[in-house]
Amino acid sequence: MTTRDFIQDRIDSLENRDVLLEVQNLKTYYPVRGGFFKRTIGHVKAVDDVSFTIRKGETLGLVGESGCGKSTTGRTILRLLKPTEGQILFEGKEITKISGAKLQKARRDFQMVFQDPYASLNPTQMVGDIIAEPILNYEKRNKKELEQEIKSLLSKVGLPEAAYYKYAHEFSGGQRQRIGIARALALNPKLIVADEPVSALDVSVQSQVLNLLKELQIEFDLTYLFIAHDLSVVKHMSDRIGVMYLGNLVEVASNRDLYKEPLHPYTQALISAIPEPNTAIKKERIVLEGDVPSPQNPPTGCPFHTRCPMAMEVCSKEKPPLKEVRPGHHVACVLY
């Protein structure tokens, strides 16, 4: 079997699986307060109408520039932030409005790997306690058995068992991220949201952590929402990729389709910016003019029309919906 066959096989097998997460018209606004009594004087529209689905066992990559709302999307899905509007369905069950003890119970099934391995581990806790805590939040366990379980989990993420008795500050960034992954895995969740899990790491360590995530996905049958701004990292990790711009999802397609034939002008510009290692190939770069508009006061119509090289008059008036223009390839652009 060639690699291409393997990928095709994986895509085919994934298409038949159940939907694990469905996000419909999700909006998350941060209030902007000011004035004399700290009234709400506006909103930062961090996530403005995002819809997608993730099937079981699949990896959906989310890419976009800093500040485009990808992390907010991830955190809102885990209900670490309150959605302003829209629906989040996890295994068909609505988790948008639940709170308190119910939400706490539901969190068992979806976990997060954080961006900053230095800030995401409590410095006063022993590594063993950090990883045991999620389990102890949901179950009463025998101490000895649990310790054994944690130690085997540690070796699964590539850390020595002796790490159990150490503290986070004694580890390097890559090792800390492995601890964070072990903590997310401890509850055996169905969905893991990885929020730029390697962007804080050295390039040499990035691939190790990425490959670990891939291995664990197969071993534990995990589903990932993989958030990153590095296009090559997303390409390496994802089955399907969503491209975000200014709080909006502008294109969703399979990994292959997106890199081979990007349809949205923004995606085209992004892909053209990937450096080409082979100097013999001449690549034409699409350079975008201007800056990303403020999410507090986004442009009317298509959010990208202020910078789009192909903008037309209609773009500033109507916001194009995300529609399927080819099988499995969704774009939000009037051109299609």
Binding site: L80, R107, A119, L121, N122, Y165, G180
Partner: protein, 305 residues
């Protein structure tokens, strides 16, 4: 030689030192803080043992009793530090005074720290309306004129609660505002760290996030602040007692002993009556401040001392 090094290597502890153990190690190396700790421990032990020691120190162990026969005696072999204007042994009263001063200081500090930490951490963690309500209440408490309230509350509570505890409760109720503000600001800074978000995502309740994740990480500030408050509480107790608003007059405390220096005659001619309490008060407060300084260094992971 070779065998001994392998032995020590084998004995290397399996567990790493926790941040608290590292702090303790650093503290034990700090000479000034250690000397101060020893001094405070000795003063505390002598105060606790006061009733026992009194039998040996003075021919009249009853400290409250006025003894007209032995008024204002300068230090001699019978009364090592002399007697006061009521004929009571100064050294015995000094030990008894330590009981009161340290007890009031410690209890009031505990009350202030507990109240301040609860209010501050809840306000800082939840933010928004909760924060607003709690902090405005804190502001209100901070604006209370201390002396006036001490006198008023003293009068209200007098007779309901034992005299000593009136003072402790009054000081406690009026002084937690500063701690609440401090803890809130620390919690506000600390909760921005991703591990707090991580704690929520692994299913911790808000209560557990505060107790297990936030407080251990702001504890060093609270502990250092506690020592400073302890010192100032002892001063407050002495000052109030000196003014006559503190513990009941019959109770020996360092402040009450000092108040006898009100009389010019005593201040000028009988230094043995007021010098000992003044000296021990100064030394105690200095020591506590040195301990606080030592703790600050020990608990700061960036200091190398």
């Amino acid at each position: 030689m070779a065998s001994s090094t392998t032995l020590t290597q084998q004995k290397k502890p399996e567990r790493s030192l926790s941040p608290w153990q590292i702090a303790r190690k650093k503290f034990l190396k700090n000479k000034l803080a250690m000397i101060s700790s020893v001094f405070i421990i000795i003063v505390t032990l002598l105060s606790i043992a006061a009733p026992f020691l009194a039998q040996y120190l003075s021919p009249l162990p009853d400290i409250a009793k006025v003894n007209i026969g032995s008024m204002n005696i300068p230090p001699n072999s019978e009364h090592i530090l002399g007697t006061d204007k009521s004929g009571r042994d100064v050294l015995t009263r000094l030990f008894y005074g330590g009981r009161i001063s340290l007890l009031v200081g410690f209890s009031a500090t505990l009350m202030v720290i507990v109240l301040g930490t609860i209010v501050g951490s809840i306000a800082g963690f939840f933010g928004g309306l909760v924060d607003n309500i709690l902090m405005r209440f804190t502001d209100l408490v901070l604006t209370f004129p201390f002396l006036v309230f001490v006198i008023v509350l003293n009068t209200i509570l007098y007779g309901i609660v034992d005299g000593l505890w009136v003072l402790i409760i009054v000081i406690g109720i009026l002084s937690w505002g500063g701690v609440a503000r401090l803890v809130r600001s620390k919690v506000l800074a600390e909760k921005e760290n991703e591990y707090i978000l991580a704690a929520l995502s692994i299913g911790c309740s808000p209560f557990k996030v505060i107790v297990r994740h936030l407080l251990p990480n702001v504890a060093s500030t609270i502990i250092v602040q506690a020592t400073l408050i302890f010192a100032s509480m002892i001063v407050v107790e002495s000052a109030l007692s000196y003014l006559g608003f503190g513990v009941p007059q019959a109770t020996p405390s360092w402040g009450i002993m000092l108040s006898s220096a009100n009389e010019p005659d005593v201040l000028q001619g009988k230094p043995w009556i007021w010098m000992p309490p003044a000296l021990i008060l100064t030394l105690t407060i200095l020591s506590i401040n040195f301990i606080g300084e030592g703790l600050k260094d020990a608990l700061n992971p960036k200091s190398l001392r």
